[in-house]
Homo-oligomer: 233 residues x 2
């Protein structure tokens, strides 16, 4: 079965980084320049082959580290893309993973001629069907992910409600009313207040919140083993 | 890339059929008996190869029709399974699709020694990792799908609130209070009343409802073309 059909594993990595104009948090993704045909010189998602003894997620992690240096704490499967005409001269099915990483992790990418961060909503015309894949990943992020998961993955373990609102504003590309946002988040139960505040010498330092673990456990998939992190979607 | 790794496409089909004991609606899936090694004689999900000129969903539809005779109006991609040890003596990655079908469609399956419906929560020990796949599909159905989508896919275009409640009871495997259920569904806006009633000569025939298209459009994926049906999850 599957004669002359090959398999590739690619990844979409979202991170919050400052917008170059106003500096407000914005969704970025790392891309890799193609150094061979087809699509020589075009930007593409980081990826590569599946080796004989690797799991799919293991291949995604290895390919991502090799091409960008990134090592997200977890990768989640996004979708398999397999239209017959997506790769000129060959039949390639790509299983795509995705992850959200903190700004600190994102800074580990050594940018250069062949690796660069792009604003996710403003990527150039990519190799293969990778523009469609990025569009699909953005749609999943905006419509399917639980807000608490996005906060956890992009911000780390604790965050202020203002930081959380900035994440939502970056993902949704819109401004939110701070008072309404606070009420909605507190009503949802998705985050809980800690007894810590954000340090930095302010007169009234803002309180730090954390992700509500009790909520996440409800959604744990039977594919997750006990040691794994909560899934993204 | 992907030397000696082959690709298969399998499907999980859910239908509501009567429980053999009480007759109440219950989730069933069709399985196919293996007629070759590995796992000769064991039950497995319907599936087969991806041909060179087929899309992934096209292969899922063709394999499903060949093995069971079923032709669901739409199939949705569920997940790709690719652990290195899932198929003895070969490396096979399976991209799994799923669908919900009406009882009328389900009756088109010609049951026999090698094709049979099973209660989804009571399948025997299946070939490969197919037991895990069924468990994952049930988890997705129970936790991730919107209730309006389930109703639409399992019931057809119009249905009474009692029929809708029976669907929810079958999927969740629990009894629901009719009055509370009615209030929750009406508050959700996911279904709307039609001006039709269920015929059959009753004194007070129950009103028929339909799926709320306005709600479904919000969730349409960028991968859907305009002509396609709403996605399952």
């Amino acid at each position: 079965m599957g004669d002359e059909i090959s398999l590739a594993i690619s990844t979409v990595i979202f991170a919050l980084r400052p917008d170059p104009d106003g500096g407000s948090p914005t969704l970025w993704i790392p891309l890799v320049r193609r150094i061979r045909e087809p699509f020589l010189g075009r930007w593409a998602l980081p990826g590569g082959p599946l080796l004989a003894d690797e799991s799919l997620s293991g291949a995604a992690a290895r390919n991502l580290k090799t091409t960008t240096g990134l090592e997200p704490r977890y990768l989640e499967q996004l979708y398999a893309f397999g239209e017959p005409d997506r790769s000129p001269g060959a039949r390639v099915v790509s299983i795509v993973y995705w992850a959200l990483v903190h700004a600190g992790e994102a800074d580990r990418v050594a940018e250069g001629d062949n690796v660069r961060w792009f604003i996710a909503d403003e990527v150039p015309d990519l190799a293969f069907d990778h523009s469609t894949i990025v569009e699909y990943a953005l749609w999943r992020l905006r419509t399917k992910m639980e807000h608490s998961r996005i906060a956890h993955a992009l911000l780390g373990d604790t965050f202020t409600l203002a930081q959380l609102r900035e994440v939502h504003e970056a993902v949704l590309r819109t401004k939110l009313d701070p008072a309404n946002f606070r009420r909605q988040i507190e009503a949802s139960g998705s985050v809980v207040a800690t007894d810590q505040v954000l340090t930095g010498g302010r007169h009234r330092p803002p309180r730090l919140y954390r992700y509500n673990d009790a909520v996440s456990l409800v959604d744990s998939s039977p594919l997750d083993d006990a040691a794994s992190s909560p899934s993204l979607s």
